[in-house]
Subunit: 195 residues, 2 copies
């Protein structure tokens, strides 16, 4: 298993080597079948060094995605205020991040690179259920395995239509109107009757 390239632990680019190994393994095996041990082995370092640089497997995965911000931190504010009105708060938070001209180009680059090919399945398998899901789980009344994907379907659809493929009517819509229109949808998926 060990494919050490003879680099000593702690060398200046060890962090980058671990990240490269993680990206390859996450893409090849998916999130759940990638272990910290395998990443360490491929990078030729001790597993403790992976933990030292990146923390948990979730954290390593977030680092591999190279997002300009950590969505778990962004979502913390939405979650801490509880389920009431969380639908609209979620939409407002997403818009405030994506409409920020400092952040949008980097997010768009990630979205485009990830949605267009098989790496997208990694987001489907890892990012939404494993990283975003547990945060949103605090907001749902029951059946998180159904409610979280429903929330994701509307939020991903908002991102793709407003930012990635830029449907004119969605681009032109004031954030206030987007929040008023999509908020009740997300709220119903989180806490309402699913029919």
């Amino acid at each position: 298993m060990t494919t050490s390239r003879g680099r000593r632990p702690g060398a200046p680019d060890t962090r980058a080597e671990i990240l490269d190994a993680a990206r390859v393994l996450f893409a090849e095996r998916g999130f759940s079948r990638t272990t910290i041990r395998a990443v360490a082995s491929d990078a030729g370092v001790d597993p403790s060094l992976v933990h030292h640089y990146f923390g948990s497997k979730d954290d390593l995965f977030m680092a591999a995605l190279a997002l300009p911000l950590d969505p778990r931190e962004v979502l913390a504010g939405v979650v801490s205020a509880g389920p009431d009105g969380a639908g609209e708060r979620l939409v407002r938070t997403l818009l405030s991040v994506w409409d920020d001209p400092q952040v949008q180009p980097a997010l768009l680059a990630v979205a485009r690179s990830v949605i267009g090919d098989d790496a997208g399945r990694l987001v489907g398998e890892g990012f939404i259920p494993v990283v975003i899901g547990p945060v949103l789980a605090a907001l749902v009344v029951d059946r998180p395995e159904v409610r979280i994907p429903l929330v994701a379907s509307q939020l991903v659809g908002l991102i793709v239509t407003r930012y990635v493929i830029a449907v004119p009517g969605m681009v032109a819509m004031p954030a206030e109107d987007v929040a008023a229109s999509l908020g009740p949808t997300i709220q119903r998926y989180l806490t309402g009757d699913l029919g």
Copy 2:
């Protein structure tokens, strides 16, 4: 403007030449600034030949997208039954097409090629507002410029999460449950109070 390659009108691959020229121009200029005349000129044929092979500019655009079926025909059945229950019918129709193993690979190929890069903007600018919009316009009570993009945001989100990036919870959900959960959302975007 004329870049005729000396091919005589009606030669065996004229149809393919027109289609190639259309794909290039739609991608470079977008849908609204591409004219039948410019496509004909780039393909080195008379505009009447473009009309002869492809009909209207909408039809030419659909041909350039190379979808395995014409969504306008698929949607005709949803529209003819009127706005009542159209939300759930729309979701059911989308699922019946995308869940069809004969059709799904081709749709997935188009979705992946189009969502990942700038060609996606062509779908945003041309496909949804110009091709799908007029069909759905028969279902909305007012403000089609707001309601159609909202409908698109949820339907595109369903396609991306269930098929393109394959969120496990969304993949596992029975079509019945998807229709019951998303139907009321689409119905509200079409005919309900937008808040």
